[in-house]
Amino acid sequence: MQFPDAETLCQQLAEQIRPNLQPNTVLIGIRTGGEWLARRLHALLGLNGAPGAIDISFYRDDYGARGLRGPSLRADIPFSIEDAAVILVDDVLYTGRTTRAALNEIFDFGRPASVELAVLVDRGGRELPIAARYCAHTLPEALPAAQNLQLERTNAGVLTLRLIDA
């Protein structure tokens, strides 16, 4: 399957978000792909400060079955969540479980005014009642579970989408 260019999608996503920016808008990316994307959107949208980043490993719902999968990275939220208009950024929206975990983690930092979801690609296959307000590309058909779609970044910093047979 051919995917649209990730860099182009990134621009489109920024333009979807732009009209809805508020003075208290902050971006939080989910590591690792969402963090790259949040940094890119942050620059494209000309926001102040730095975007936040979270690693949702400690909030996963399959810890009981699978345990920790290697060390995670510390959360880095360099602003107050309290009353912020949070845009949660992820590369690929799939089951919605990662988004659920991210919401729980964000609320442990404070009470945001609102949380919206921005993703580069919606691959279908939702298992939770979660939808993205901003989405640059929706696949016409859901990808089979055996396939893994992920964002990659070249050494030069160029974003690309890659499909991997799991």
Binding site: D55, F58, Y59, Y63, G64, R66, G67, L68, G70, P71, S72, L73, R74, A75, I81, N104, F107, D108, F109, G110
Partner: protein, 319 residues
């Protein structure tokens, strides 16, 4: 025979000692601990990892700091924590160690944190659990006799790595009552595994165990000589409660010869850090001016200890 702490996949099943624990496992625990340090800065200082798990702190010997940090670590992971001060309960009525364990297992324990005056008690519990097919229950040694205090050794390694980054160029000095110290044994095992090139052990002959030079350390009976050029100065607590017989002169005389003062510390590197596992005997093994000085990292050790214990608990419970 495989290391009783590791399961058949080589993952940590229990944490009993740092002796013989592969370097990769030690490094992995330190790596896992790093993100947990950040949780303390959050509005809600809690992670949901161990929600619904029951952790029993089985303390057959008194301890405030260790028990408290284990308790905080477990609570920050959302576990249910039960503290049993066993010296004042069933054992006083004659119940055996393994009967106590079996009773707590019948209350659906998921993990035991064990402190005991007898070396080997946590190992005995782990073997008992294994022999009775209860592999889902984990044991953490919180200090047994003179044997081991692995989480203290790990938090010390975390602290050294935090301030010094790399172990492979360090000169580390361990000073004081090594004979009675389970902390020293765990420190030596970890420092050796992590490749510290110069490990020095400094203390009076009466407080160093026989054959200690076989552990790969250089032995000094002159504190000034041993401190020269050290990057890390690890003080040990003088364990009066474990001593029998006349191993020592008075505390005042001990301080004169073996106490860490600013004047002696000046022989170490200017950026040397000073560590102590607590509780401090001010004016016995360490001078107040040093304990409260700019080179002391004694309170950060306590804070890092929570993150390290969170890492160990979540690694064990996730197996």
């Amino acid at each position: 025979m495989r290391n009783p702490q590791l399961n058949k996949h080589g993952e940590l099943q229990h944490l009993l000692t740092l002796d013989g624990l592969p370097r990769e496992v030690i490094v992995s625990i330190l790596d896992h601990a790093a993100p947990f340090t950040e949780v303390a800065e959050r509005e809600v200082k809690k992670l949901p990892l161990l929600r619904g798990k029951s952790i029993f702190n089985l303390f057959f010997e008194n301890s405030t700091r260790t028990r408290t940090t284990f308790e905080i670590a477990a609570k920050r992971l959302s576990a249910d924590v039960v503290n049993l001060n066993v010296s004042t309960s069933s054992t006083a009525k004659g119940e055996s160690l393994l009967d106590t364990v079996d009773n707590l297992c019948a209350m659906q324990a998921d993990m035991f944190v064990v402190r005991h005056a007898a070396s080997g008690a946590p190992v005995l519990i782990a073997q008992h659990l294994q022999a009775t097919g209860r592999d889902h229950i984990h044991v953490i040694n919180a200090g047994d006799g003179r044997h081991a205090h692995p989480t203290q050794g790990l938090l010390d390694m975390y602290t050294i790595r935090h301030y010094k980054r790399d172990f492979t160029h360090l000169t580390v000095a361990i000073i004081g009552d090594v004979l009675h110290s389970r902390v020293a044994r765990s420190q030596i095992a970890a420092l050796t595994a992590l490749g510290v090139p110069e490990l020095r052990i400094i203390g009076p002959r009466t407080l160093l165990p026989d054959g200690i030079e076989k552990l790969g350390a250089r032995i000094f009976h002159d504190m000034r000589e041993g401190l020269r050029g050290a990057d890390v100065v690890m003080m040990l607590r003088l364990q009066n409660e474990r001593m029998s017989g006349a191993l020592l002169p008075t505390p005042q005389e001990y301080f004169k010869v073996w106490g860490l003062t600013a004047e002696k510390l000046a022989l170490a590197k200017p950026d040397a850090i000073v560590m102590h596992p607590g509780p401090l005997n001010r004016g016995v093994e360490i001078d107040s001016a040093v304990a409260d000085g700019a080179q002391a990292v004694i309170l950060p050790q306590v804070t890092f200890g929570i993150a390290v214990r969170m890492a160990v608990m979540s690694m064990l419970a996730g197996q």
